[in-house]
Symmetry: C2
Subunit: 628 residues, 2 copies
């Protein structure tokens, strides 16, 4: 058994660095895939960090006092897994036989299937924004002095999300956040935008409010001094360490070569690389543990406590209330009862009604300004620490954060997203503000939950359900005020629906604003002697298959499905796919959706134009009824 | 008839500014909706610009020598429409009775239904990136000395896309681009991130390589001098004018008030505002026209010329070729034949194979580095000038640009997007790199075309089709090499499909990599005496409804649809929705898709795990056949 070194001197750290390089080469060559050269450029940075600065109890990754290490350049996964081997939590056998293999946990890019990984990375420009979220939690919620260390690549500094992150990091004075930028000059297909112009990187990061330290990323003393300086958090700024490095450092055949991005070395090259690096080693190293020593007495000393009973807002049936307003009221009620609930918004909280929460619980509200990517990333990072974040903005603008939502699913994060101003119902503002793709986007996310309530009561109930829902959950709210349909004692399960009207001639399926149109259409149809069944399909994913199938049986497979969304991927798709799963079915389905490009107008004008209003629904139902 | 002033002095410009304010108030009050205060802060800037600097022939908006005016702060639409009235191209009647009304062209946020609007705005942080694209076209393709003037809001400087834009603008030395930032301090719900800290804005813009001019945005002389300085393009940098302004300027009741964002004034307030602004006016003003005078002799003097016959690459049936490679080869062939074709990539051109184009036609290739939002925005801007841009990156990372694609549709732009490395087929890299949501995203875009070819021949043919396709078109390519299925003389229409195998027991529908699995499954099934029909559904939107319906008739409604994508919104949805449109149908459908969260592995391992391989397809088909 190898002795584990604790906070070794820099001479020993050099050995650690060499081992990280050798292991990065071995892992990627054994897998026949991976990024050894991008790992080698950052090996010295990581060796100093994990040996002497990262305060982390490797045996207790859940210790709330632990620092956090985020690999924003996730393609350097050979390096992070070599770090785990050096810390003694991943074996040599796993490193050499598990990396990038089917069914194994050392995936091509790190994910939280590993207990030492907080967030999945691999889509560049996301690790730093996620780190901002973790640092926000540390400073404002946990109030624990852990640090968040983020290893960034230089290529990813071309992503705007990096600048959203630094802007918020300085706005919120996140001195507990340290970004280490591995400026190895070379991206996937040649030189990066800024190459080795570390002055340009420094100027940008400084302009965005960071304390910047420029170093030679292969000088261990300089690295150690920079990390020590970064630990001094007295000046209330995030730190950005700009480290000039050499891609493939340590193996002269590939150093600074543009031809070796993302390529493992063939066996013979790997042998030469390992030889040049001084051969294989078996160093075990750990840095300091969180203050107080060990994990004994560790407690989740943050703001979280026991959740009490939620006193949801109540509404009179028939009263007109916008679902976005009910969201804000329910969120504030939830926050009052549960100290883990956190709200974030993108400078539209007076429209989404998240301002209700901000007013009542300002300490757990974070204004992310108009930066939807950072909005979702901050929620992801805050979720790492066990909080229950809700992030809201206009539904249309959540498309801005699509890649972050997708990666949130890979991160196994529990994200609660709320999009207001859905569909053409919003009227005068026009198509740029109309979410007509959001249901498709959110449904396609792995393991997601998609909710679209039609009234204030169901909205409030579903907000409470979201707090208990794992994975990515999405609530779509409506701008206008519509009558409350349900009493306060009604139950709304995720995956449920409500049959508001029985009828055997045709089934009308709506959600949100179109449910009200369905109810109105059913009244009209009744006068023609057509008995319509009306289903409130407030849970679009999962969808209430049993109720839909019963309706198909009862109404001879005749359905009108109507949605304030483009025809693809939304409610209509969900209903069609549900009805077609599980065996043969005979269906006659009319799908009403927004098929043209809307302009401005009033909500009713636009719904009539798109043929998703009561008149259009009734007409479609009559066609179906006439088809016998 | 009012006299039209041309390049008036600043005293007259003050009258223009007052009229723009008055008209902004009148338009929004008449509509009962809109943003008068955000218009008033920028009125002086626009008055000087349109009177003395914008070189624009209002009677010939298509003159290629015209400057371009982009309202990145699209919510200030009352101001842009008031500008159009001042220029005499929109009438007072239209301004007062058309703004934000149903069926009218003065929409809540400007769109190109108006001939003087290049791109739709309203999702903040997009106008400047689009402007970068127009400026790229001007400098590198048209080689015409027009300028691109972009009015930005201050709130939108929180969007990372702004920094992607400035980074590219300085990288490409776009001295023909001028951003005018209206720093009125107030966002929708209070003070912005940086408030009136114009020094901070200046520092950031300078760090990103811009020439920065800070001014009082209500001092006409200072504005005029700044715009004059901006016109000096000798120093090869974009210009950013940071103008400190007052929201609601000119109406003391609302000046610098946080309570008047996005609210029209009630009638009585509007009356007081107009009075304070000196009453209604009827000034007509135009600035200089492009050099050479008038529009006579205007020619599209850019690089474009006649398109010749495309010599597409040809492939041997049975040869293994990756569709991503065929894309690159076809794109290069297309570019060789058609001087309007332009290619852009996000630093992965050696993976997408856009590097083939870059190598052969470097003058029409733009490297956008890892900035997918700017990638799509640049293509949008280049499209404004009539070019045929193709933008490619990994399909997974196109999610980063979802909002830009959505707005591209509102802009009526013809965008050609190509996403490589689709699905779990990519194997070892893991889920962060696997596009499993892209078909849902692209299908839900208004008017989009979604293509997913399975072999090199069809890929090449469809790349040629995309050049002729209007709206947003999307091509999904595969990482691995698979056998060529079609000879060079085969025709591939958008909206078509290929029936590769006839059979009456069950229909197998695949696209891309799963088509090969379907063909293999059909072989296996044949041995069991099950005759499978196999459809290559390479055109997912529009989809070949006629062929699918015939197949339903021929195979008793029995379908296996299989896709390398999440179950929602992709090929399965497209087939289901298509089969359920247009009347009653009895269907028995098995939908195979990626339902779990993948890790790493080989492509075949992962396809087996997800049950989208030949074995799983054959098994599903047997179940269907057994169901009689």
């Amino acid at each position: 058994m190898t002795e584990t070194l604790t906070k070794p001197d820099l001479e020993t750290v050099a050995e650690v660095a060499a081992q990280l390089r050798v292991d990065s080469v071995r892992a990627s060559t054994s897998a026949g895939s991976g990024h050894p050269t991008s790992s080698m450029s950052a090996a010295d940075l990581l060796a100093v960090l994990i040996s002497r600065h990262l305060r982390y109890d490797w045996d207790n990754p859940d210790d709330p006092r632990n620092d956090h290490l985020v690999f924003s350049k996730g393609h350097a996964s050979p390096l992070v897994y070599s770090v785990f081997r050096a810390a003694g939590v991943v074996s040599e056998d796993e490193l050499l036989n598990g990396y990038r293999r089917f069914g194994e946990r050392l995936e091509g890019h790190p994910t939280p299937v590993l207990p030492w990984v907080d967030v999945a990375t691999g889509s560049l420009g996301q690790g730093l924004p996620d780190g901002v979220g973790i640092a926000l939690a540390g400073k404002y919620l946990d109030k624990i002095p852990y640090r968040v260390w983020v290893l960034c690549g230089d290529s990813e500094f071309a992503e705007g999300s990096i600048w959203e992150a630094l802007d918020k990091a300085s706005h919120y004075k996140l001195s507990n956040l340290v970004a280490i930028v591995d400026v190895n000059r070379l991206g996937q297909r040649g030189e990066t935008d800024l190459g080795w112009d570390t002055v340009a990187y420094a100027r940008r990061a400084e302009a965005f409010g960071a304390r910047v330290i420029r170093i030679d990323g292969h000088n261990l003393t300089a690295i150690d001094e920079a990390l020590t300086e970064a630990e001094d958090d007295s000046d209330e700024r995030p730190t950005v360490i700009i480290a000039k490095t050499i891609k493939g450092k340590g193996f002269s055949e590939v150093e600074d070569s543009p031809d070796w991005h993302g390529k493992p070395f063939p066996e013979d090259m790997a042998e030469r690389a390992i030889k040049e690096l001084g051969g294989e080693r078996d160093v075990r190293v750990r840095g300091p543990v969180p203050e107080g020593g060990g994990s004994d007495g560790a407690s989740d000393g943050g703001a979280r406590g026991q959740a009490g009973k939620v006193e949801l807002p109540q509404y009179e049936v028939g009263e007109k209330v916008a679902t976005r307003k009910a969201y804000g009221q329910a969120l504030a009620a939830l926050g009052a009862a549960n100290p883990a609930v956190v709200a974030l918004d993108a400078e539209v909280s007076n429209s989404t009604y998240a301002n209700q929460f901000a007013k009542e619980i300002p300490d757990r509200f974070f204004e992310m300004y108009i930066a939807e990517q950072q909005l979702v990333a901050a929620a992801t990072g805050i979720g790492v620490r066990g909080y229950i974040p809700f992030a809201s903005t206009f539904a249309a603008f959540l498309t801005r954060a699509h890649d972050f939502v997708r990666m949130g699913a890979v991160s196994r994060t529990d994200l609660r997203l709320v999009g207001s101003h859905a569909g053409i119902e919003i009227g005068a503002d026009g198509p740029s503000q109309m979410a007509l793709e959001d249901l498709a986007m959110m449904r396609s996310v792995h393991g997601s939950t998609v909710l679209y309530p039609s009234d204030a009561t169901s909205t409030a109930a579903l907000v409470e359900r979201m707090a208990e829902t794992s994975g990515i959950s999405y609530l779509r709210t409506t701008r206008g005020a519509y009558p409350v349909l349900y009493g306060a004692d009604e139950d709304f399960a995720v995956g449920g629906s409500k049959t508001l009207r029985e009828g055997d001639d045709v089934t009308l399926v709506g959600a949100g604003v179109t449910l009200h149109a369905c109810l109105e259409a059913a009244e009209q149809l009744e006068k023609d002697g057509i008995h319509a069944r009306v289903i409130d399909c407030y849970s679009i994913k999962p969808i209430d298959e049993a109720t839909l199938r019963s309706a198909a049986d009862a109404t001879g497979g005749k359905f009108v499905v109507v949605e304030d969304h483009h025809p693809e991927g939304g409610l209509g798709s969900a209903v069609a796919e549900s009805l077609l799963s599980g065996g043969r079915r005979s269906l006659d389905l009319e799908h009403l959706a927004v098929r043209g490009m809307p302009g401005s107008g009033t909500g009713p004008e636009l719904m009539a134009w798109a043929k998703i209003d009561a008149a259009a629904i009734a007409e479609a139902a009559r066609r179906l009824a006439g088809r016998g």
